[in-house]
């Protein structure tokens, strides 16, 4: 765990509203493992009072810099999207647990919904380095929201894409794609990152097929370091801290369907007016 004033050395809007920022920090990049995250003070001057925001480590330039990939969804990410090259961001990291695999792992499946590619690209690079064969499966609503497809294609044995509107790859959700293909791919382990609802379904499929599954869980965080007990995640072993015992959990341990998962899934906001009846 380090607190660094990390210089921004590159910033790109890789898709509308989705940015990648590369930050210099020898300590963080040297120690980072796939699945871990950084806790970022968004904006250069924080006189607005904003709690830090957590972002997965997306990639590292070993020993020198690391990259985050994020979507603008609210005030913090909006501020973050405004930083300029040479600005210094106050960052804490690397934080939390990482994806794990046994030394003799033969095949893996990396499954991302939307921004879920963020930690998985780092994992993909590490697996490649360690000569572990893996598939990648990326899902998005539409083609322009499909992120890092080329990068995964370069690294993975095979990269599948699913778009809900069919504008690229398979038509439908990435979960449907998984369910259609998993019996053929037969990965030893699935690493899944994405909205809570998606993770829950992936976990069910993995369970049905007896495949190990590791997921990255999101929770609102205050401290990010395990001190405030604010980011609890309900597991079969009781409350765990998402920032310290996670964010990477064994999917079997998660008590799915509990409030935080529903609330925080980034696509969970499509609100149905029908549910609310006029009582006046």
């Amino acid at each position: 765990m380090f607190q660094a004033k990390a210089d921004v050395i590159s910033k790109k809007e890789i898709s509308p509203g989705v940015f990648s920022i590369t930050l210099i920090s020898p300590e963080i990049s040297r120690n980072a493992k796939p699945g871990q995250f950084v806790h970022v003070l968004c904006g250069v001057q924080n006189d607005k009072f904003l709690l830090r925001r957590p972002f997965s480590i997306h990639r590292v330039v070993p020993g020198r810099a690391f990259e985050i990939l994020f979507q603008v969804v609210g005030s913090g990410t909006k501020e973050l999207s405004k930083v300029k090259i040479h600005d210094a961001l106050d960052v804490i990291g690397p934080l939390g647990t990482s994806f794990t695999y046994s030394p003799d792992i033969k095949s893996a499946l990396l499954l991302a919904g939307g921004l879920g590619v963020a930690p998985l690209l780092f994992l993909a690079e590490e697996l490649t380095e360690n000569h572990v064969m893996f598939y990648a499966m990326l899902g998005a609503q539409t083609k322009t929201k499909l992120l890092r497809y080329i990068d995964f294609k370069r690294l993975a044995k095979k990269t599948f894409a699913a778009t809900e509107d069919g504008s690229f790859g398979h038509e439908g959700t990435v979960v449907a794609l998984l369910n259609r293909t998993v019996h053929r791919l037969r990965p030893q382990v699935i690493y899944a990152v994405g909205p809570g609802k998606m993770l829950q379904k992936v976990a069910e499929t993995a369970d049905d097929f007896g495949i190990d599954c590791q997921v990255s869980i999101e929770a609102k965080m205050a401290c990010g370091v395990g001190a405030c007990l604010g980011c609890t995640c309900l597991t079969r072993q009781g409350f765990k801290l998402t920032c310290k015992d996670g964010p990477i959990f064994n999917a079997r341990d998660i008590m799915w369907g509990e409030s935080e998962v529903e609330q925080l899934s980034l696509d969970g906001y499509k609100y149905e007016a029908a549910e609310i009846t006029d009582s006046d």
């Binding site: 709690l51 609102k220 205050a222 370091v225 001190a227 405030c228 609890t232 935080e260 925080l264």
Partner: protein, 304 residues
């Protein structure tokens, strides 16, 4: 010019008047990776209860304008675990340790006080009286001068340690509560705990916290905290630990002027883990720039 930052609070000698607010610093472990915790004036433990507590369902925190809500629900492993695992660790910092405790009943407070008797390294007990008294229909101990007095008296009877009572701000007359706890034997008071608040997500129509309501902390509440510290300083003679929205040395100084002998930093630790160290340094700088030699020259010196 060298300035003196040390203060004595209810007999506790502190090398400076800055400490963490209970529950925002764990027991120091995590923050020790960012700075030398031994530089603080004291360390305040997260609230300990007699039995372990699971705490509330998530989500437990959310941000509000210049503040945050939390509904941790006093999650902790219980006194036994604390004494075995946390306290020994905290002793390593070699600074005064203030153990913050809470209970559902008077008896629980009394019991914890007894169990802390003669325990090495405990410098003081801080009573968190913002929690409901389950025998009094769920009204918070700190919301009634009678209950506040009782819980203080029950604790006082069972401990010889300095006793700090941490007041809840969700009351009309904070001075009355302060008087009650001092009359029952409190050696110091700390204030404020959080204001009760709520936030609703207009996308999902759900409360941001699973517990619906939670405690509001951060800069938003600072004016309420300063006012209460000032009112209490007019009323009772015991030292005050000022808490509420302190982010910078300037904020801390406002509390000293209002009448606080020491201050505790809560939410700021989440924004900047080194906040307390920067506050200590900032107080020192302020004093020497203004020609003061002692932080105690500020206490209660608001010019009214």
């Amino acid at each position: 010019m060298s300035v003196n930052l040390s203060v004595t609070l209810a007999g506790i000698k502190m090398k400076n008047p800055v400490m963490p607010a209970s529950g925002t610093f764990g027991n120091g472990r995590e923050f020790s990776e960012f700075f030398d915790v031994g530089r603080l004036g004291a360390i305040v433990a997260k609230t300990v209860t007699l039995k372990p507590r699971e705490g509330n369902m998530p989500p437990r925190v959310c941000e509000t304008t210049s503040g945050m809500l939390n509904s941790i629900g006093l999650q902790n492993e219980g006194l036994g675990y604390f004494l075995k695992h946390d306290l020994p660790y905290m002793r390593k910092f070699k600074i005064p340790i203030i153990v913050n405790i809470a209970g559902n009943t008077l008896e629980e407070y009394a019991q914890i006080c007894r169990d802390l008797r003669g325990v090495e390294g405990v410098s003081a007990i801080e009573l968190n009286i913002s929690c409901p008294n389950i025998k009094a229909g769920g009204i918070a101990f700190g919301a009634s001068s009678k209950l506040a007095e009782q819980v203080t008296a029950a604790s006082r009877y069972n401990t010889d340690l300095p006793l700090i009572v941490k007041l809840t701000p969700n009351v009309y007359n904070i001075s009355k509560i302060a008087r009650a706890v001092v009359s029952a034997g409190a050696d110091a008071v700390s204030l404020i705990n959080t204001l009760v608040g709520m936030s609703i997500d207009i996308k999902t129509f759900k409360p941001q916290l699973a517990n619906y309501t939670g405690g509001l902390s951060g800069p938003a509440i600072k004016p309420v905290a300063v006012r209460m510290v000032w009112e209490v300083a007019q009323t009772v003679d015991v030292p005050i630990i000022g808490i509420g929205g302190i982010m910078t040395a300037e904020d801390a100084i406002e509390f000293f002027l209002a009448g606080a002998t020491a201050i505790a930093v809560g939410t700021a630790n989440f924004v900047n883990p080194k906040a307390m160290v920067e506050i200590i340094e900032g107080i020192e700088r302020f004093l020497s720039e203004r020609g003061f030699t002692d932080v105690r020259q500020l206490i209660g010196k608001v010019r009214v």
